[in-house]
């Protein structure tokens, strides 16, 4: 008997040790990436970096301001398209669902979220860039929205389904129409969880490069017109990193640091919302 207890304890220690090791194995690469980017990028972060467009080839200095602004515009555009579609779609699935149509929509969303983002870019290219005869920020936004929609749709649906039915009934019994109940009671109750999903989706598209390659294309200059080719931070990182100039490499590291920091902040905020919901 005694022996089996010691044996069990040993096994217990062994297993927890193994799990700890696995956790560290996840953390180590993450730490390595972050610290390497920090080391390489922090020196190129100056005021110029945040306020200037890239300097002409061969000249020193310059920044990535246009890329950051372009990314912000395209993310905003993608959210403008993706959030209503994703959230209203999720309300349909969770509140009116159960039909064959819902099964089809869920399946489509799952396939869409598994689609490589370069293909999403190709689709936006054929649908928008070709007929409009030019690359544009709008096409970039649409491509990003296509990535965003399935993420928002499925996370929101999960959150809505967790709202107890008794709340919906309470509202309906007061003579509140079903659609108002869905928006003002069900969605409202799930809001923090929905917000978490939205932030994670934004973080995801903030770093997407492939779908922008042949939609937004990129731009060396200020570009605030969504009908024109538009700069984006990930695109700039890509083109600067493969350029043969030392100066540009440093800018690319700076851009990478900004991007990683933004995504990190978004994930943390998302976590925070998730946490407060559980506590409340």
């Amino acid at each position: 008997m005694m022996q089996s207890v010691t044996y069990r304890k040993m096994k217990n220690h062994l297993m927890s040790g193994l799990m700890l090791a696995c956790t560290l194995a996840v953390l180590v690469p993450l730490g390595l990436i972050f610290f390497h980017i920090l080391k390489m990028g922090v020196s190129s972060l100056s005021l110029d970096f945040f306020t200037h467009v890239p300097a002409p080839t061969g000249e020193p200095g310059g920044g990535m301001a246009n890329g950051m602004v372009g990314s912000a515009i395209m993310i905003a555009g993608a959210s403008l398209i993706g959030l209503p579609v994703g959230i209203l779609g999720a309300i349909y699935l969770s509140e009116f669902g159960g039909s064959k149509v819902s099964t089809l929509i869920r399946f489509a969303a799952d396939v869409l979220s598994g689609t490589p983002s370069i293909i999403t870019g190709m689709v936006a290219y054929t649908l928008l860039v070709v007929p409009m005869k030019g690359f544009s920020g709008l096409a970039g936004s649409v491509a990003l929205a296509m990535i965003m929609i399935p993420i928002v749709l499925r996370t929101t649906e999960e959150q809505l389904k967790m709202v107890p039915g008794s709340l919906r009934e309470a509202s309906l019994a007061l003579g509140v129409p079903f659609w108002r109940t869905s928006l003002k009671v069900t969605l409202r109750s799930a809001l923090s969880g929905v917000l978490t999903g939205v932030l994670l989706a934004v973080a995801r598209i903030a770093g997407e490069t492939a779908p922008l390659l042949f939609t937004a294309l990129g731009n060396q200059f200020w570009s605030k017109n969504v009908m024109q080719p538009m700069a984006a931070l990930p695109l700039q990182i890509f083109s600067f990193a493969i350029a043969p100039y030392e100066d540009w490499h440093r800018l690319a590291w700076g851009g990478a640091l900004v991007l990683v920091t933004v995504m990190f902040a978004l994930s943390l905020t998302a976590r925070y919302f998730g946490r407060t919901r559980q506590a409340g």
Partner: protein
């Protein structure tokens, strides 16, 4: 006395389940009618048909007539939302809106449907909370979250929320079964007062409660209406053997 609600040969199916079988009965105005019967006999199902809550269950089918003031609420062209404003409902488990304050919960029926002028809102909140005898307990913390209240207080808040939209009929599905004896007593006293203004239909598992609060009692068994009549009579000289057995606790 006027009949406020009248059921004529009501049948309710869920898919193949025949949950309520051919029930005809009346609910007199300004009275309390208790619906009793063993678990699964169709009490909740019958109750929920009176404000069209089954509309949300795709498999549910209601046939027959349910008249509120002589109008069939299942008639074509009748808006279920309008019916639910006239026929309110209080549920078994207190279900205040968790994201709202006590104050907002009382006026939820207005706020969720649009706007309500501040003064009018103040007035409704105070009068409704007074009527459910909750005002003195919460008047200093109207803006705090409704989930801070005890179960019994939450249930009285839910009743306040229901009467705030001025219904004519109030359906209650075991409104006190999740509460302690003192809160239960308060709810029963409240029902007694509410019947002056409203017609109340209450489902309960508690025989004493049915005897205490109701004027009329209906006994359901396996979806059938076995017997219904004045509470006094049902509890002293029931006509059916089944009713007597159930009331005296021999089965159910």
């Amino acid at each position: 006395m006027n009949n406020k609600v009248q059921l004529e040969q009501v049948n309710i199916h869920f898919g193949k389940t025949h949950a309520v079988r051919d029930i005809s009965m009346t609910f007199p105005e300004h009275s309390v009618t208790a619906i009793i019967g063993p678990s699964g006999c169709g009490k909740s199902t019958l109750l929920r048909s009176i404000n069209r809550m089954h509309d949300l269950v795709p498999s549910a089918r209601v046939t027959g007539k349910i008249l509120v003031d002589d109008g069939d609420i299942y008639d074509r062209g009748v808006d279920p939302v309008a019916i639910r404003r006239r026929v309110g409902m209080v549920f078994q488990k207190p279900n205040p809106f968790p994201a709202m304050s006590i104050y907002d919960n009382v006026i939820a029926g207005y706020k969720l449907n649009g706007r309500l002028p501040r003064e009018e809102a103040d007035e409704i909140v105070e009068s409704c909370l007074k009527r459910v005898a909750l005002w003195d307990e919460v008047k200093d913390r109207l803006k705090s979250n409704a989930m801070m209240l005890s179960g019994g207080q939450q249930q009285r808040l839910c009743i306040a929320r229901t009467i705030a939209v001025k219904p004519e009929v109030i359906l209650m599905d075991e409104p006190a079964s999740a509460l302690d004896p003192i809160s239960t007593l308060k709810i029963e006293e409240l029902i007694e007062e509410l019947k002056e203004r409203y017609t109340i239909i209450i489902v309960t598992h508690n025989m004493q409660q049915a005897a205490r609060v109701s004027d009329y009692t209906a006994f359901l068994y396996m979806g059938d209406l076995v017997e219904c009549g004045e509470t006094k009579k049902i509890f002293t000289t029931p006509e059916q053997k089944q009713t007597e057995d159930y009331i005296t606790g021999r089965f159910g």
